[in-house]
């Protein structure tokens, strides 16, 4: 048995969970309060969807047909937009350095931050998606399905975006670089998200396979995202 060090308490599972929860709640509180910009993503989502009829015309039949695609694309862009702040603010005020030096594994800390980010920026998108679907003439029963696919798919967007956010903060660059890095990686999520929504609304393909693959993408990126993001932070900020 090793001698007791001051860090031994962190290996206690309960302490570790408490630390994760504290970080999660801190991030959520910060993003809800003034200057946090939690609902900015939802507002952007609304504007993107409103712009769409101006581009393709107010034909309700056409809008109903491409409605799921518009909602998914809007949610993808909105969740991308918010990623910039994920590490940048913490990097500016030095709390990211504290997290990296702390006894909690960086992967878990990054995971807690990502979950907080998902709860404050992606979950509002899922909630307002049915309302926006109304404006696109999507059927009432289809809106629940679209919201369900967004609920299953947006974690994948957050966790993939996490990698891009970590890389861009390590290079002290944000904005367009983040989008260029992350967007190609999200193609599978977009494909299976829209496919699941369309399968449930117009058929004839079954809803099950694309939806389960969508869930698999979210779970897979839940594992890959924090590990890669933590590696990016460690290698970039050392």
């Amino acid at each position: 048995m090793r001698g007791a060090t001051s860090h031994d308490h962190i290996f206690d599972p309960e302490t570790r969970v408490n630390a994760l929860l504290a970080l999660l709640l801190r991030d959520m509180r910060l993003s809800i309060r003034v200057g946090g910009g939690a609902l900015m993503g939802a507002l952007f989502f609304l504007i993107v969807v409103v712009m769409m009829p101006f581009a393709v015309g107010p034909d309700l039949n056409l809008l109903a047909r491409i409605g799921p695609a518009i909602l998914w694309l809007g949610a993808l862009l909105a969740s991308l937009l918010a990623l910039d702040r994920l590490f940048a603010v913490d990097h500016e005020d030095g709390s990211l350095d504290l997290l990296m030096m702390g006894a909690m594994p960086l992967e878990l800390a990054v995971l807690a931050k990502a979950i907080a980010h998902w709860l404050t920026t992606a979950l509002p998108l899922v909630i307002i998606a049915p309302v926006l679907g109304l404006m696109l003439n999507v059927e009432l029963k289809a809106m629940g399905v679209i919201a369900l696919t967004l609920l299953a798919g947006t974690p994948a967007l957050t966790f993939i975006g996490l990698i891009g956010a970590a890389l861009s903060v390590a290079l002290r660059r944000g904005g367009l670089l983040l989008a260029v890095l992350v967007l190609p990686l999200t193609i599978p999520v977009l494909i299976f998200g829209v496919a699941a929504a369309n399968a449930a609304i117009v058929g004839p393909a079954p809803f099950g396979p694309p939806f389960t693959i969508l869930c698999a993408l979210s779970l897979g990126s839940l594992v890959l995202g924090p590990v890669a993001a933590a590696a990016a932070l460690r290698h970039g900020l050392e």
């Binding site: 890389l167 390590a170 290079l171 990686l185 590696a231 990016a232």
Partner: protein, 246 residues
């Protein structure tokens, strides 16, 4: 010679300078034989002479994909073993792989015009290669924006590994998406076996492209090492100047 011996840039440069002329000569000879055999290969009974684009298109596609594989191995070298030349190898592979992928897309587009009647179709394989090109361009953008070469190399290494995990998923999803949207109506289902009169020139061309890839790769690596030396000398010069002034 062990891989670790190459960590010394001077020794590596000596090796490159010895190997490069031979590799370039092999490339030229293989291209001469391959192109000659490709021109002599029989025309397709439906597509006519346009089928000869394949001799450029297919090897370019293979090498475009191999470029990412090379980058992933180099990324492991950078992140795990911290081999000093690994990030140089990864950085050198990115533009070459992107160029081969681009050649594959352009020749595919030119091939599509007479056979499919359009320059671009959202065919599964074309789309996958396009996404590969986008990922290459992302890595290049990362290198362009990084101020510090070492930091940029490590960031690009992580992105390469993430891409290596993601590429099969993207390939699978694009295939799935393609069969969902357009049933195979454009691509005729040809015989699976390729006639030797076509296969032999194709393999020679593939060997020629591979030699070309490694010739360019070694040359770019050499240039990158020299560029870093120049950078270090400039920094030292600036420091000396500053100390002299102070």
């Amino acid at each position: 010679m062990a891989l670790i011996d190459l960590a010394n840039p001077t020794r590596f440069l000596r090796l490159v300078n010895a190997v490069l002329p031979w590799l370039a000569a092999a490339t030229a000879i293989l291209f001469a034989i391959g192109l000659y055999r490709a021109v002599g290969a029989p025309d397709d009974y439906q597509q006519g002479a346009t089928v000869k684009i394949m001799f450029l298109h297919v090897p370019a596609a293979w090498l475009g994909m191999m470029g990412w594989g090379l980058m992933s191995v180099a990324a492991l070298g950078t992140l795990v073993w911290r081999h000093p030349l690994a990030d140089v190898a990864g950085k050198a592979a990115a533009p070459i792989g992107a160029a081969f992928t681009f050649i594959c897309l352009v020749t595919g587009s030119l091939w599509g015009r007479p056979t499919w009647g359009t320059y671009w179709v959202w065919d599964a394989r074309l789309t996958s290669m396009l996404v590969l090109l986008l990922l290459y361009l992302g890595v290049l953008a990362l290198y362009w924006t990084a101020e510090d070469p070492g930091r940029g190399a490590r960031a690009a290494a992580i992105l390469s590994l993430v891409g290596a995990v993601n590429l099969p998923i993207i390939k699978f999803s694009v295939d799935w998406w393609n069969t969902l949207h357009q049933p195979a109506s454009i691509l005729r289902t040809g015989g699976s076996a390729i006639d030797p009169s076509i296969l032999t020139p194709l393999l020679i061309m593939a060997a020629a492209f591979t030699c070309l890839f490694f010739t360019l790769h070694l040359a770019v690596m050499r240039n990158e090492i020299l560029r870093r030396r120049v950078r270090t000398m400039q920094l030292m010069e600036a420091q000396r100047f500053a100390e002299a002034g102070a």
